[in-house]
């Protein structure tokens, strides 16, 4: 006779404590998986590497958009312009000033941050709709401005970036015929850096403030969040990140034309990618970037440019109705039935029971004389 097995199968969902070895292991495992996928991608044929590079660049741009639209809840239709500003910054500095393209990323980041701050300013007055309007106008005005200064930007003819400056340096060991592999790795590294930046930003105090601003401005103000600063700062960082994506894009493409690459359509594409991947998630932008590049590619047989637009437009509408959290939201909802990560208990000094009792009395009876009639119930 054996005792009945008391170790029943664990009931779903599995509980995993945040910070526990299992959780750490899963995190490391996910990271290793991503790195392996990145290596796998670089081994594909050069056409596929090119597509992947574009997808990663778009993912970076979408990660930038995610900060302002996903986390802070302000719609920007002008991110095509920041993408373009980044691209032209790199293009002009490399062509006119012979800069190393990688150094121009920093300039693009800083420049887009500043432009973002300025454009974000009007968003402070009243609410959401204003930023949408300002950024819409920005998206439409940007190609016009580029065409207006042909001396610097090549105008309608476009800007051809000096190819020799864009070649991989010797230490990479990548030859000129494989240069797209070099751009691929740059886009991987930039995306990784951006995602780390976004994750850190959105998981900390700033992230909480951003979400509070999105969900209820009045309440956010009441808990001491500086709405003006959060909005403008987020918009600046968001613009800067998308600007860097534009820089990588300039390296990858080598020739820039505002009328074809940096129009309103790009902005809407980025928004579509964000919604497909899932707003306010860290991984969502990667899925979104892949989706907006690969969906048109796979449907190439039936599309002629416009079909792609119609498809994206319709998908955007349908998603907002049936799956507003995007694929990441869906994945989260599904996996929640299988695995749950239990957040770590808050650390820090805790009040003793005595202190709590005193505090309770003070709040419940703020007027020891008993003259006032205000009492606050504390549950």
């Amino acid at each position: 006779m054996t005792a009945p097995d008391t170790r029943a199968l664990p009931t779903l969902p599995l509980q995993i404590n945040q910070g526990s070895p299992t959780h750490r292991f899963l995190q490391v495992f996910g990271l290793v998986l991503l790195v392996a996928l990145a290596f796998l991608g670089s081994r594909a044929n050069s056409f596929q590497v090119g597509l992947l590079t574009q997808a990663l660049i778009y993912a970076t741009a979408i990660a930038g958009l995610n900060l302002v639209t996903g986390y802070t809840g302000m719609l920007s239709i002008g991110h095509s312009a920041f993408f373009g500003i980044g691209a032209y910054t790199t293009g002009i500095l490399v062509t006119e000033r012979n800069w190393n393209p990688l150094t121009t990323f920093i300039v693009a980041f800083a420049l887009c941050f500043i432009v973002g701050l300025i454009v974000g300013l009007p968003a402070l007055r009243i609410r959401g709709i204003n930023l949408a309007l300002v950024t819409l106008a920005l998206a439409v005005a940007f190609p016009e401005l580029i065409d207006r200064f042909p001396g610097l930007t090549g105008g309608t003819l476009g800007l051809n970036v000096t190819l020799t400056s864009l070649l991989p340096p010797h230490w990479t060991g990548i030859g000129i015929q494989n240069r797209f592999e070099y751009y691929y790795w740059i886009s991987v590294v930039v995306l990784a850096l951006v995602l780390v930046l976004c994750a850190n930003l959105t998981r900390g105090r700033t992230g909480l403030a951003m979400r509070a601003t999105r969900d209820r401005e009045t309440a956010a103000t009441a808990v001491g969040i500086n709405l003006a600063w959060i909005k403008v700062f987020t918009f600046g960082v968001s613009a800067a990140v998308t600007g860097v994506a534009g820089s990588v894009f300039a390296m990858y493409l080598g020739s820039l034309s505002a009328d074809s690459s940096f129009t309103l359509t790009l902005s809407i594409t980025l928004i579509t990618g964000l919604v497909i991947g899932g707003v306010a998630t860290v991984i969502g932008p990667i899925i979104g970037g892949l989706a907006v590049i690969y969906i048109p590619h796979w449907t190439e047989g039936i599309h002629q440019g416009e079909t792609e637009g119609l498809f994206f437009g319709v998908i955007l509408i349908i998603l907002m109705f049936v799956m507003p959290d995007g694929l990441m939201g869906l994945t989260k909802r599904l996996t929640r039935h299988v695995v749950r990560i239990k957040p770590r208990a808050p650390t820090g000094p805790r009040a003793s029971d005595e202190e709590l009792l005193v505090a309770h009395d003070q709040i419940a009876h703020p007027d020891p004389e008993g003259k006032g009639d205000t009492t606050l119930a504390l549950s």
Binding site: G73, I77, P122, L133, E306, L310, G313, I317, M320
Partner: protein
């Protein structure tokens, strides 16, 4: 003087179009609290319908009526099917849906009618010689007709708002949807009508605007118009129909005079001007010239 008058006439014509579309934007904003990004594309879609009918030798006046009716249906259906279920969620969701509609309609135009540009027949005599001379400047019938028709539409809308039962219901819905609903107004139907009217105004504006210059009917025709109209609506005050009309005219005239006399602008930076105008209005006077300040109760 002659040159000035010609710039002025052009400006008034453009301004009238901006005014009409700005009025349409304001009507939607008052009802639903959002900017209808797809307003321009709805107008373009119906303009294509009208143009398609003219190529089948349908009399232009009939084309106008059909396109206006189509616009009304398009607007009303959009409100009922797309906007009403989504606007409860959030402003962001509504704006994204409208962007999707914007992109879908624009691409659909390209699929249905191709990427060429077309010239559209005018409602009014539109020959080189069909103008009257005003102080040496030419005032074309097409322009004059446009002014009159837009004036009639605007007048009719104000009549509707201020002197009819329906208008009263619309104003009540705009000012407080909940109270309006509690006093027995069918708010849903009013919103639908508002969107329908605004898209119908857009349809007329598109049909008036397109014949003014040759080869102007194309998939990109309405982007800049929408931007200018948004700037006008914002300048006038998003909740003020009168303000939208005045600001639209102002914007059209200022833009025409600037691009006529200041060579730096030279007809190429109009969108940039609108952008600067929008930013300045929001920074200096976010409620616009005639709008009411937004007050939020906590």
């Amino acid at each position: 003087m002659q040159l000035f008058l010609e710039y002025l006439f052009d400006g008034i014509s453009n301004g009238a179009i901006y005014a009409a579309l700005a009025l349409a934007l304001v009507m939607v904003f008052r009802g639903t609290g959002t900017i209808n990004f797809a307003q321009g594309e709805m107008a373009l879609f119906t303009t294509y319908i009208a143009w398609g009918l003219t190529t089948k030798n349908v009399p232009i006046i009939l084309c106008l009526l059909i396109a206006t009716g189509a616009g009304f249906v398009l607007g009303a259906v959009t409100e009922r099917v797309l906007i009403r279920p989504i606007e409860r969620k959030s402003l962001l969701a509504t704006l994204i849906v409208l962007l999707g509609l914007f992109l879908a309609l624009n691409s659909l135009d390209g699929i249905l009618w191709g990427n060429e540009n077309y010239t559209m027949a005018s409602l009014f005599p539109n020959k080189v010689s069909s103008f009257v001379s005003v102080g040496g400047a030419r005032l074309y019938w097409a322009n004059l007709g446009l002014w009159i028709l837009v004036a009639v539409i605007v007048g009719a809308m104000f009549q509707l708002f201020n002197h009819t039962r329906l208008g009263l219901h619309m104003r009540a819905t705009a000012s407080n949807r909940e109270s309006a609903s509690l006093s027995g107004i069918a708010v849903g139907r009013i919103l639908m009508l508002g969107w329908g009217f605004s898209a119908a105004i857009g349809a007329v504006a598109g049909i008036l605007l397109t014949p003014l210059s040759p080869d102007s009917l194309g998939v990109g025709e309405m982007f800049p118009i929408l931007i200018q109209a948004s700037a006008a609506a914002l300048l006038g005050g998003l909740d003020s129909p009168g303000g939208a009309v005045i600001a639209g005219l102002m914007l059209g005239v200022v833009e025409a005079l600037l691009s006529g006399y200041v060579s730096v602008i030279g007809g190429q930076l109009e969108e940039a001007i609108a952008f600067v105008a929008i930013v300045l209005v929001l920074l200096v006077r976010p409620q616009g010239l005639f709008g009411s300040k937004e007050v939020e109760r906590v």
